[in-house]
Subunit: 530 residues, 2 copies
């Protein structure tokens, strides 16, 4: 496939700006061709106007049509073959098998949503029948269901060039409910984005969808993103990235003349609590698995475990020693890009300077700066040290974590109370531990989006029940997830029809229930016709 | 009941401030006793700390216990008898039957939520079973459900002293899911709030709920509200009131170090479209009903119809004449308070000055300023006049509306496209009209939360399917409603449990499904056990 480097505006190419940038191979620093053109304000406006202009056509497609479109995206993604994987690998340093795993996840996700939208009950159809004879006032016939909100601006993640980018859950869930998409290609993997976009364009063509439902613009700095969020046609935005970037765009979105929801997933510290029973039973095993989780993908996951807490004991010391040894064995690997590499190494240097922190483990092989390689680092502190260094409870993106040796069981609960919102919290324990630490668990339920027992946060199951979200700063709005079928809720709102004629009602609200969706009919869940 | 005028902090009274204000009878300007004490920052802090301290106990109550609590609120509200109604009438100018209607609505609403929370499926329980043998990665067991977020700050409406105030859907839905409440009593009906609060306190006592789940603070200006929204223990806020007040608190909430959702219902213009078929068939009838809807409750509804559009014709002229005559018959009535009365009369004076507007109808009896009475006013303009006066498409709270005589059918659709988000849009028509004006309807679906056919927006059915919300400025987030059972979604978030032991799971996620809630189990809706 020949890459052209321009914006894609409803299938048309546009490159009006004189400003360009390149994708870069982080393992060599080499610029990759072609040059990518910064989107101009006109191009962004064109993309959003086009999205707005096809919104009616798109939102009125049937669930079956949208299901076919999503299945076609899955098929076309598979048809891209190795070209997608190779480019993703070149732009991110991810090994090819990781890229293949991401591609498979994206494909499965599109098919999951295809089935979900075909089944159709997600629209939350509700009917309360009227009663013209009710005293003192006649009761109207009231029906409602979820409808799409309009064009969605999407910002993919740097760390998942395939699975949380052009083909990610943001795009797929927006399409599933009938919202057009304008995505800002991630400037660290613009070529991967351009290749992936072809799958969307081909799928739209194959299934008779309006081309304008998908546009992609490029931008290296913040200007293009700001413009997307400010544009009056943008109805909502979804973002996966850093706290700084997310917060800034959230403020732009909230302070617009007409505010829009900004759904940001901004990562978190993902603490692991190793309770005494588990530590005694299998401390060494946990140490090894924890380091495996910490170093997977060079630690570049928003669910990367940044803190591990346990009780002072001989077992803890063994755990710490084991984990440190495993860290020593980690062979430095290339990070996503030089910027992330720089932030990681500066963050680690800061931690090394702290007198409250002890570096207990470090990759024995040195990392190459030229190759943007990260070594793995493991620090240790105690509850006082953690309290004195609140930045430890903030995410540092990369393969670094801190062990916290607590003097008292109550230290863990006390720390949990000070924890900021987190995507996950993991607990290793026996069932007896869970009982004894019920107070800690109760606190974690209020702090995290996902609680994991005897497991690790990295490696997210894409399914109906998954929640990838949590209280701020994990996300900007803890009701919404960015992964899993519930994420469709970000791009819809209820529309209510009162005494509306059958002929003009959406199918899900018609008496006969032609799509056989589950509805709340006068308070009862049923698929029956009225 | 003796009123004391202080804050109510978990059942205890507190009056630390030297600053006081009074409720006022708007029909006489007379101050009503007792004096109400402005809440101090300490009192607000105390209320929220207390709410936070009982959150765990409250959120862990069973649905049955919370159902009993809500039913007890209904019973205790009824037991307040005439005292509640009389005070509400004195503080708002609402006639007693209106107050009784509001009380009944509040009581029915509490019982609706009691049934809803007992049925329990609203928690959206989802289970994806694990598969340890899956290749290439074992599949974890993932389960999730909605959990309450924490203390909620509530701001009631001035116009519904009983049904959208202390006993309103905000309080009831927060309690239904297990969130403590700190409400700011509306300064225009503090006595009504104090009486209503007794029902909540008595119900909590009767059903063994922690007293700290409910506090009420007083404040005349903006300071107390700002403090409530800024407090770190506040997890979300709900507001019904003006665009100015709502927007300002929304910004406070969004710009906190840890932003919180601010759910504001800020009213709207609620256009009515009278299509040609309906105009021909029953123009006069619609005119009478429209003016009835416009003047009900002295026009003080957030769903009050502020614009009526129709096509230039003899029938339109008859419609306009009929409506103007009905407006002439409206006997001026006391508004909620002097501030609202002043805003209304100034707004009307402004409209009278516009050369694009013609005053076609006005109450024949003069209104008394001393009694804060509002006359009814009906203006007329055309599509050009409406375009030249965009403020006509903004809400003016009170019994005033503008008829818009359109030259072309396309004028209506063109206007709809410029419409801001609205709680409602009403269409009078035949089924043939609906077909011919399909373009208009399609636009309205994107602009309003509730579409009404051959009816009027005022008079909201409290039920499962109702949606009382809409795009900004109707609300700050169009996903959420402030009335109807869906409004519970404002105060919860998903919590996900991965590989969590059965013994420690919430009942709704246990294999045996002891509460028999509807769940999504491996993608299928079922009440079956695993």
């Amino acid at each position: 496939m020949e890459l052209h480097g321009g914006q894609i505006i409803g299938g048309e190419r546009s490159a009006l700006s004189g400003e360009v940038f390149h994708g870069v191979d982080p393992s060599s620093g080499e610029q990759l061709n072609p040059a990518y053109f910064e989107a101009t304000a006109d191009e962004i406006d064109q993309a959003l106007r086009l999205a707005e202009s096809v919104f009616d056509e798109f939102r009125k497609t049937t669930p079956g049509q949208r299901g076919a479109f999503l299945d076609a995206i899955a098929d076309e993604t598979e048809a891209l073959g190795d070209e997608l994987l190779k480019r993703a690998s070149a732009e991110t340093g991810h090994p090819l098998p990781r890229c293949a795993m991401e591609r498979d996840r994206a494909v499965n996700q599109a098919r999951l949503f295809a089935g979900f939208v075909r089944e159709g009950s997600w629209v939350d159809a509700r009917i309360d029948l009227g009663d013209s004879g009710r005293i003192p006032m006649p009761k109207p016939d009231v029906r409602s269901l979820m409808q799409p909100v309009g064009p969605i601006a999407i910002f993919g993640a740097s760390n998942f060039p395939i699975a949380i980018s052009v083909l990610g859950a943001d795009t797929i869930s927006a399409f599933a409910c009938g919202c057009p998409v304008v995505i800002k290609a991630h400037p660290a993997h613009p070529g991967t984005c351009e290749i992936a976009a072809q799958a969307v364009i081909a799928a739209a063509l194959k299934t008779g969808m309006p081309a304008g439902l998908f546009s992609m613009v490029h931008g290296k700095g913040n200007a293009v993103g700001e413009e997307l969020v400010r544009h009056p046609a943008t109805a909502a935005a979804a973002f996966t990235g850093s706290l700084g970037g997310g917060r800034s765009l959230f403020e732009t979105a909230s302070n617009r003349p007409i505010p829009i929801p900004f759904y940001a997933e901004m990562g978190s510290v993902n603490p692991i609590f190793v309770l005494p029973g588990a530590l005694a039973e299998r401390g060494e095993e946990i140490a090894g698995e924890f380091v495996g989780s910490l170093t997977m993908g060079v630690g570049q996951f928003c669910t990367n475990p940044g803190l591990v807490l346990g009780l002072k004991s001989e077992q803890w010391d063994n755990f710490s020693k084991s984990a440190a040894e495993k860290v020593g064995e980690f062979v430095p690997q290339t990070m996503l890009h030089a910027g992330i590499h720089h932030a990681f190494t500066s963050g680690v240097e800061e931690r090394k300077k702290s007198s409250d922190l002890h570096l207990v483990g470090e990759s024995s092989r040195a990392a190459s700066v030229e190759k943007s390689e990260a070594a793995c680092y493991l620090f240790e502190t105690n509850a006082e040290g953690l309290a004195a260094n609140p930045e430890l409870a903030e995410e540092l993106f990369g393969p670094v974590s801190t062990l916290v040796k607590c003097s008292e069981p109550s230290d863990m609960e006390a720390f949990a109370k000070t924890l900021s919102g987190s995507l996950t919290a993991s607990v290793h324990g026996t069932e007896k531990d869970l009982e004894e630490y019920a107070g800690l668990i109760s606190v974690l339920e209020k702090k995290a989006g996902r609680l994991i027992f005897n497991g690790y946060p990295v490696g997210l199951e894409v399914c109906h029940s998954i929640h990838h979200g949590g209280p701020y700063p994990a996300t900007c709005h803890s009701y919404f997830t960015s992964i899993g079928t519930r994420c469709i809720q970000r791009f819809v709102r209820p529309v209510c029809f009162q005494d509306w004629p059958q002929s003009a009602l959406p199918p899900e609200l018609k008496d006969e229930n032609p799509l056989e969706v589950l509805r709340i009919l006068d308070g009862e869940y049923t698929r029956d016709a009225v």
